[in-house]
Symmetry: C2
Subunit: 227 residues, 2 copies
C-alpha cells in the first residue's frame, strides 16, 4: 500500500513541482491549500486546476484570515515591490514576508496529516530565492519536525514519525523547473505573481515574476504563461 | 515601558486566569481568540466579555475553519462524552482532541506577536486535566519555542527572544481557581463547557464541566456559573 502524504499546494510553480515530486516518490498526495486572505487570490483557483490536472484525489482549502493579525504586503495594502534588481532582492527580508507563515501552514498541514493518517508533509520551501525568509531554512524545518513529533497523538502513540520534506530546499529556480519538466508538470497552469491583474495575468515585474522568468531562461525552457 | 505579550484567550476558566497572570506580571496584553469552528461558539462571546472586563486594549479574533481538515468532537458531529468518571477521563486521548490544535494556535499567536512587537506568548496549557493531549506537555511547548525563534524575522534579526509562558502547566484546577480569585478574576464570565445549550448554559456533565466543578469544590469557592 502506498504511503499517504500531505502536500502544501499554493498553485505556484514551486508547490506544483513539489506535488509532482511527492507523486514520483510513490506517495498518495492529499493537497492542502490555504486561503489566508492573500491579495493574489487567483492562486487558489490555479491550485484547484493543478490538483485536478495532476489527478489528486483529495484537495482541501482551509480559509483563515491572517489579515486579522496583520503585517505583510501579501495580505494588506502595502505595495508589492516592482522592478527590483536581483541584488536588492537578495538583501534583507522583503515586505512580502508574512509573520509566522510557514509555522501556521505547517501546523495546518500537520493537523490535516493526522486526520488522514499521513506522516509525510511536503512543502516548497527554498533557501535561495527568498534568502530573507527565516522560515524557509532547513534549521526551521528541522525544529518544526521535532515539534510535530511531540505535538500529535499519532506520533506520541507510536503510529509513525512525521517527516517534513522540502525537496526544493537547495535547488535553483532553473533546477526546479528542469525537475518539473522531466516529471511532466504543465507550468502553464501555475501562477507565481504577487500582484496579478483581475484576469490572473502575471505582472512580470514583482520579485516572484522576475525569479520565475530568470529560472525559465536559465533552464532553457519557454514559459507559456503570459504576462 | 511595559513589555507587550500575546495571550491566547478562549473565554474559558484557564485562559482567563492566564490573562490575569500576564497582567499581574506587568505585561501589556494583546488577547487573541481563535474561531476554529468549535461547536461551543458561545465561548467566543465570553472571550470578548472577559477581554472587556479585564481592560484589554487589543483583542483580535482570527477565524479559521478547522472543520475542513476534520477530526474532533469539538469541531464536528462526533458526540461529546458525558458523565465520565475521573479515571476514564485520565485514560487515553479523548475524542475532544483537535489534531495539531496548539501548534496551530501558537503559530497564530506567534504571527500576531511579531506584528505587535511582542516576544512573550501566554497559553493556558495544563498537563493534568487533559493528560492525553500531547500538545499540552512542557516538552512540546519547549520545542515550539525553539521553532518560534528560528521561524521569525524579529528573532532572527536579534530584536528579542520569543518565550512561551504556560503558567498553569502544573497547577491543579483548584490551584488555578485559587490563583485567579486572588487576582480578582470574575469567573462568572467564563465558560468551560464543551456542549453548552443555545443560551450558553453549561451542560454540567462533559469532562470540562466536571473538572471545573471539582476544581471549585476543592478550592472551596462557589462557582456562580449556572448549569
Amino acid at each position: 500500500m502506498s504511503p499517504h502524504a500531505v502536500v502544501l499546494l499554493s498553485g505556484g510553480l514551486d508547490s506544483t513541482t513539489v506535488l509532482a515530486i511527492a507523486k514520483a516518490r510513490g506517495f498518495v498526495p492529499h493537497a492542502l491549500s490555504v486561503d489566508y486572505g492573500q491579495r493574489h487570490r487567483i492562486e487558489l483557483e490555479r491550485a484547484a486546476e493543478v490538483a485536478r490536472s495532476m489527478s489528486v484525489a483529495h484537495h482541501v482549502t482551509v480559509k483563515i484570515d491572517l489579515r486579522a493579525i496583520g503585517g505583510s504586503a501579501l495580505t494588506s495594502a502595502i505595495d508589492v515591490p516592482k522592478d527590483r534588481s536581483h541584488d536588492a532582492m537578495a538583501t534583507g527580508i522583503p515586505v512580502t514576508y508574512v509573520p509566522a507563515r510557514n509555522t501556521i501552514l505547517l501546523g495546518l498541514a500537520l493537523g490535516f496529516a493526522e486526520t488522514v493518517g499521513a506522516f509525510d508533509i511536503f512543502i516548497g520551501a527554498n533557501v535561495y530565492d527568498y534568502s530573507g525568509y527565516p522560515d524557509c531554512r532547513p534549521e526551521f524545518l528541522e525544529a518544526f519536525e521535532r515539534t510535530a513529533n511531540l505535538a500529535t497523538k499519532a506520533a506520541v502513540e507510536g503510529r509513525g514519525t512525521f517527516r517534513i520534506h522540502a525537496p526544493l530546499i537547495e535547488m535553483t529556480k532553473a533546477q526546479i523547473i528542469g525537475t518539473g519538466v522531466q516529471l511532466g508538470v504543465d507550468y502553464s497552469l501555475t501562477l507565481s505573481c504577487y500582484d496579478p491583474d483581475e484576469r490572473g495575468r502575471a505582472c512580470g515585474r514583482c520579485d516572484s515574476c522576475q525569479l520565475r522568468q530568470k529560472g525559465f531562461d536559465e533552464a532553457g525552457v519557454k514559459d507559456s504563461v503570459e504576462s
